[in-house]
């Protein structure tokens, strides 16, 4: 087990390094200067600004400098929001994204497993068909469509929930949370349904029923525990999906999170912010995948970890 963990950890660090390098060179090979947008800038001021942000040094020197700084926990300074470090921006904005992300993940996992289980247990009934119909749509509709349609319906036509959300009350979570969780919810429902259908035909379920256990114990203790395993493997892609989804959802609902400011810094060519946030998100995703992998092998001992 320890050998496996170390191997995976090293692989994750390697991936992160590759991502960092890719990000760095892609950002710097991009012509176009972030300062030119401001208009009346004389060549002297431009040179001073470039010197301040280290943009005048050779690329490899900059690369080394940036890598060393990252190891010290310094992601540089934002060019557009002067005087603010990228770490500060992340610290200020990420909590919003995190709260919304956790809320959406919880909704997706809870409703997904419940709906999938109901669908599997009531296979080919009306309930199953309705659930499968909804989730088939959920997989096909992009999140920005879900967001805007639900905003018009439940924010404007029927003003039940706020359309501009600062995530300060439960009702302000509902619309963005729904938009962000609809796809993963649908996906988990489908996963859960097929895996539960598999599980309830297994011998151990028959044994559990045969020895007279109540249906509740059979489903919850023997069925669900095994049926939920594929959902755990989906956790990695789900986190990635919710994160990318947050770029558009936060912009649509004017949530002051990291996703919406990432999109604005891309258009503003704010290199340090784009790079810092990409590396932050990349590290987050890569290590979440790492943990999910370890947890999965921990809860399902059938998988040979030494492989």
């Amino acid at each position: 087990m320890l050998k496996y963990v170390i191997k995976r950890l090293l692989a994750s660090i390697l991936t992160l390094w590759i991502m960092f390098t890719l990000t760095f060179f892609l950002m710097h090979l991009t012509p176009g200067n972030p300062f030119l947008g401001d208009g009346r800038i004389t060549p002297e001021i431009l040179a001073n600004l470039e010197a301040k942000y280290g943009l005048d040094k050779p690329l490899l020197v900059q690369y080394k400098m940036y890598a060393m700084n990252i190891l010290k926990g310094d992601l540089g300074e934002s060019i557009k929001l002067s005087g603010q470090s990228v770490v500060e921006i992340i610290a200020r904005k990420f909590p919003y994204s995190l709260k919304l992300g956790l809320f959406s993940s919880a909704i997706a996992i809870i409703f997904g497993t419940v709906l999938g289980t109901i669908s599997a247990l009531k296979k080919n009934t009306a309930a199953d068909r309705v659930i499968m119909f909804i989730v088939t749509i959920g997989i096909a509709v992009p999140s920005f469509v879900v967001a805007t349609v639900s905003m018009v319906l439940f924010g404007v036509k029927m003003p039940l929930f706020p359309t501009v959300s600062h995530l300060d009350s439960l009702s302000s979570y509902i619309l963005p949370g729904f938009a962000l969780s609809f796809f993963p919810l649908s996906f988990i429902t489908r996963l859960m349904r097929s895996s539960m259908l598999d599980v309830i035909n297994q011998d151990y379920i028959r044994t559990a029923r045969a020895k007279g256990l109540s249906e509740r114990v059979v489903i919850f203790k023997h069925g669900l525990r095994n049926g939920i395993l594929p959902v755990v493997t989906y956790a990695g892609p789900m986190i990635a999906g919710i994160l990318t989804g947050s770029f558009v959802i936060e912009s649509i609902f004017s949530i002051p999170g990291l996703g919406s400011s990432f999109v604005t810094s891309i258009t503003a060519k704010d290199y340090p912010t784009v790079m810092g946030v990409t590396i932050f998100y990349g590290a987050l995703l890569i290590f979440m995948n790492f943990f999910v992998d370890i947890i999965y092998r921990f809860i399902d001992p059938r998988i040979n970890i030494a492989k």
Binding site: L14, T15, M27, T30, I137, A140, P142, F144, V145, I266
Partner: protein
């Protein structure tokens, strides 16, 4: 060990010629059904898949010939008819510049569909080559190639897609400005070319994995040995014997990549990185509609509904195709 003469044990007089009636029972009752014909029959009986196919064909028809039949051009600005609700002249209404939204939605569908199809083709070419080489040669070639796949797989794709989009924009733009750039590329525009590039670069991994898995199993079979004995080169074995044998899976994966590519394109267009104006894609149309969402919700409704219908029907058709071409994978 005594040598038994068979004719001493089995007397030929014990055997009689079979009567015609007896012969008839051994006859093949049905003509043998080939793989494709069998798959087609299965697909035809799948109502959901056939309905989806009909919808897809309808959308393709509208996207290909629709804009030609329309009295308006997609970038034609009609003064005095701004922000019209759907009516007899403009059945999807007009946008804030008076452009006909029906024509623009059809153009958008054309862009989205071509992004999907071109991406699927490029993904297939790269994925098949990569997977076939990795699976066929095995050994350290396979190990190295699979490590690369692992890395591409674990890098957060959408972040790299966004970065590439940003980074590629200017070099491609410069190339298009230069004299020797082909005319058709100029027509496509920077946004679309970089989307194709990005999709081809990052989304071939699933295809490569599946092709590799198939080839690993297939290359141990006798027909490969026979081909080798007959002196076929590696290239002939891969492309004449192995790849055609996994074409079923390849088609299924390629079909399911189309909606994924459309998804990515609309997402990028929505955050403002996709096609450049006045060109319209379904994602950029939705994004533009967002500004006037409270007053003119219909501007969002049509492109959003079109994109959802396209993705839904290709997904359902792909599922049907999988059940038909690869019954073992049926869920």
């Amino acid at each position: 060990m005594t040598n038994i003469n068979k004719s001493e044990v089995l007397d030929s007089k014990m055997f009689l010629p079979a009567s015609d009636k007896e012969k008839a029972t051994a006859e093949v009752m049905r003509p043998s059904v080939g793989y494709w014909k069998d798959a087609l029959t299965r697909l035809r009986t799948n109502k959901v898949a056939m309905c989806s196919l009909a919808v897809i064909l309808l959308v393709i028809l509208a996207a290909v010939i629709g804009p030609m039949l329309s009295p308006y051009a997609y970038d034609q600005i009609n003064k005095g008819s701004e922000n019209l609700r759907p009516n007899a002249q403009h059945i999807f209404g007009t946008d804030s510049l008076g452009r006909d939204l029906f024509t623009r939605t059809m153009i958008g569908a054309r862009i989205s569909l071509s992004v999907g199809v071109v991406a699927a083709v490029m993904i297939s070419i790269i994925g098949i080559l990569y997977g076939a080489i990795s699976g066929y040669f095995g050994g350290w070639v396979d190990i190295v190639m699979m490590r690369i796949i692992d890395i591409v797989y674990s890098v957060p794709t959408i972040l790299i897609v966004i970065l590439l989009q940003v980074a590629l924009k200017t070099p491609i733009d410069n190339f298009l400005m230069s004299a020797h750039a082909p005319e058709f590329l100029k027509k496509l525009g920077v946004g679309l070319i970089s989307i194709f590039f990005v999709l081809a670069l990052l989304y071939w991994v699933d295809m490569a994995r599946i092709v590799r898995g198939q080839i690993l199993a297939l290359k141990e079979q006798e027909f490969v040995l026979a081909a080798k004995v007959l002196g076929a080169s590696n290239r002939e074995i891969i492309f004449k014997h192995l790849v055609p044998n996994c074409i079923g899976q390849i088609i299924v994966v390629a079909t399911l990549k189309i909606p994924e590519a459309i998804f990515v394109e609309s997402f990028l267009s929505f955050i403002g990185l996709g096609v450049s104006i006045p060109m319209a894609s379904l994602g950029s149309l939705s994004q533009m509609a967002l500004k006037g969402i409270y007053s003119y919700p219909y501007m969002l409704f049509f492109p959003a509904a079109t994109i959802s219908i396209i993705i839904l029907s290709i997904n359902l058709f792909g599922d049907g195709l999988r059940d038909a071409l690869d019954p073992r994978m049926k869920k």
